[in-house]
Amino acid sequence: MSRHVIAATRDLPPGGRRVVTIKGRAIAIFNIAGEYFGLLNRCPHQGGNLGEGRLIGLVESGEPGDYRYSRPGEILRCPWHGWEFDLRSGRSRCDPARIQAKCFAVRVAPGEALGEGDYVLETFPVTVEENYVVVEV
């Protein structure tokens, strides 16, 4: 497991997303209202690019005619067949125990901390004044 710096936080603002390739794996990174999430950019159903999916909320129903909409923006819908994945767990809504999108931990680290520890900087310069988005792969 290594920690990869993929962007300055100002380059991935709330509502932003980006697909990065780390260790040969394409990973889709999302900023949802200031929280970061990472998923393998490959749907576990048939392989659609999850990074191009739409972010929706959770639609639930207790009975016909009764609908609840919650957690706006936290459910990712595959751009191909519409399989829904919970960004917080990677679990699919229809078969959560078996069909899961692989999640990667994403966090923010201050530039001054990047000199310590084993961060991998891909291709861009880092300054101590800024914060950075870091993915663990």
């Binding site: 576990p44 392989g47 739409r54 751009p79 191909w80 067949h81």
Partner: protein
Amino acid sequence: MTVQLLERRATQPAAAVKMAIADCDIHPSPKSMEKEVYPYLEKRWQRHLETYGVRPRQGFANGPAFPKGQPDASRRDAYPPNGGRPGSDLDFMRQQHLDPYNVQLGILNPLRGGQGVQNGDFSAALCRAINDWQIAEWTSKEPRLKGSVVVPYEDAAASAAEIDARAGDTNFAQVLVLSRTAEPLGQRRYWPIYEAAARAKLPVAVHAFGYGGFPVTGGGWPSYYIEEMVGHAQCNQSVLTSMVMEGIFERLPTLKVILVEGGFAWLPALAWRLDKVWTRLRDETPHVKRPPSSYIRQQVWVTSQPTEEPEPRRHLLDTIEWMGWDRLLFATDYPHWDFDDPTQVLPPRVGEQQRRQFFMENARAVYGITG
């Protein structure tokens, strides 16, 4: 629901992707009617389109009968980067679809080609223009792609004339009609289409959807899109039953029919049921001389997409065994949202010969295209 996919990912894609495949259902769209289709449409019909629009045979609704699961019924990643509708950019189709999946034979099925338009002369003019457009923008530029002769199927004489005009043109691999029509497709009013197709040695593809004006399920108008989606299996069964029992296959033993995008797991059960009832009611339709299944077994093919995904997946293989591996043509439905990925569509333990049949040889046989 389907899903034993995670464990087979490690080995499957490489082998399957390298194999040259035929994709028997690709949907192209014009970038713009004015730029790409108007050159083949008489001025009179250009003005007609602008003034009166297109009136399909379904009440007072424009467009499809039900809203789709994704915008424009398309994969959200299929919008060309330079703009336009999914399926409207040949270069992007090559880059996203034909090249990575090694599609060596792709059959184009234009779905908004003037079929089912109530004004019969307008329908014929639009179909003719869409056929010219397929040559100009697609098949003449990309030899891996073959077009469909789109016909105004509610007017069989006009349809036959269009097929006769395209006969022998290797830009086209088949004749295209849609499954929801004014009457079941086996009825006499449509026979000239099949006779012309048989003369031209072109298979007739019946693609799901269309504009019959009738409810999209056998039980009436449903509430949900998902009911329309699975309703295609019902519709295809009605189409096929009509064709067999009206005696089309008996009359035209060289006619080939391909049912596109209605799934296929229903086919064995329909054939069993037809055979059983035919033995009891044979004298009602004496023109059907052999068991219905024997016509289906010799003259009917189905495309795979949207493939049923049973659990456990071996049930899919049982179903294909009941139909015969030589009946099934692989199709993706690109760029539509219910696309089947060729690297994922078959369970892992299908043998090499069956894969070759499914992905290429059956298509070459039915279209008469040698590799």
